[in-house]
């Protein structure tokens, strides 16, 4: 019962702060609301007993990516808002498209029997030990390839940040 309450509370928190990301006038408020959304999703990971994912999510998203966003927002100093806003019909069309996408997604999974393939037991697959064992045994090649991906991303970011002309 208590965990049900936590689930609904975290869901409402995630949805509310997701909406406020869009509805904020200043980009700095959007960044802070997105950080709150990430913390709510991290709470959801803990509810699912995916402990490794929860810690990695908090460290990577709330700890690194949001700090990058905050630095960029403060670096670009985006307080000037004198441009003309988008016309109303564009915003209305976008909101209607979003709502229709939501209805389509909900309509797709409503007709399915979702309990068919589920075996909900209190499993240990979310723990660091089990996940690490599977990661290093079955998924060793993608793990090494992502290290090359990180290398290219670092080289690209440093290259894009250089001052002198190339």
């Amino acid at each position: 019962m208590f965990s049900n309450f936590i689930f609904y509370f975290l869901s409402i928190l995630a949805l509310y702060s997701g909406m406020m990301v869009l509805l904020s006038k200043k980009p700095i408020h959007s960044v802070l609301y997105l950080t709150l959304t990430f913390f709510a999703i991290g709470g959801h990971y803990i509810l699912l007993n995916a402990q490794f994912l929860a810690i990695v999510h908090i460290i990577v998203y709330a700890g690194a990516i949001m700090v990058l966003f905050l630095f960029t927002v403060m670096l670009l100093n985006l307080n000037k808002d004198e441009r003309s806003p988008k016309p109303f019909w564009v915003k209305a069309a976008a909101i209607i498209s979003g709502i229709m996408l939501g209805l389509i997604l909900i309509g797709v999974f409503r007709g399915y029997d979702l309990h068919a393939g589920q075996h909900p037991v209190e499993s240990q697959i979310g723990l660091v030990k089990e996940l690490g064992r599977i990661l290093y045994r079955d998924y060793m090649l993608p793990f090494e390839v992502t290290s090359i991906l990180f290398l290219t991303a670092m080289v690209g970011a440093v290259l894009l940040g250089k001052k002198e002309q190339i």
């Binding site: 441009r83 939501g102 075996h119 209190e122």
Partner: protein
């Protein structure tokens, strides 16, 4: 404290679909390139949560491994995306996508 038996998977599907649609609406509505990037991150996170939920409900660790790799790719993508946005701001002094609508400035 086991939610796997008390909360059906359809609740997670509903939550993640709504978060995804909020992200899509954000990409369509907003003019600030940074907020568009944040909406893309919101979409990616909704999919991560859904994958982790299905992995927990089906007792299959492949979902959580996939989330791990998605987080890796998203982190690299945000770094490069922010570097590009800062570079665009340095040359054109604007990150408004209604202003930056030409391929060659």
């Amino acid at each position: 404290m086991n939610i796997l038996t008390s909360i059906p998977i359809s609740h997670y599907l509903l939550l993640c679909s709504l978060l995804f649609c909020i992200g899509v609406t954000g990409v369509l509505i907003k003019r600030n390139a940074l907020v568009i990037l944040m909406s893309v991150e919101l979409m990616i996170n909704s999919i991560n949560l859904l994958l982790a939920a299905f992995s927990a409900y089906s007792n299959d660790p492949a979902g959580q491994i996939f989330v791990f790799f998605i987080m890796v790719v998203a982190a690299a993508e945000v770094a490069i995306g922010l570097a590009i946005i800062v570079l665009i701001y340095k040359t054109t002094h604007s990150i408004d996508i209604d202003v930056l609508n030409k391929l060659k400035w």
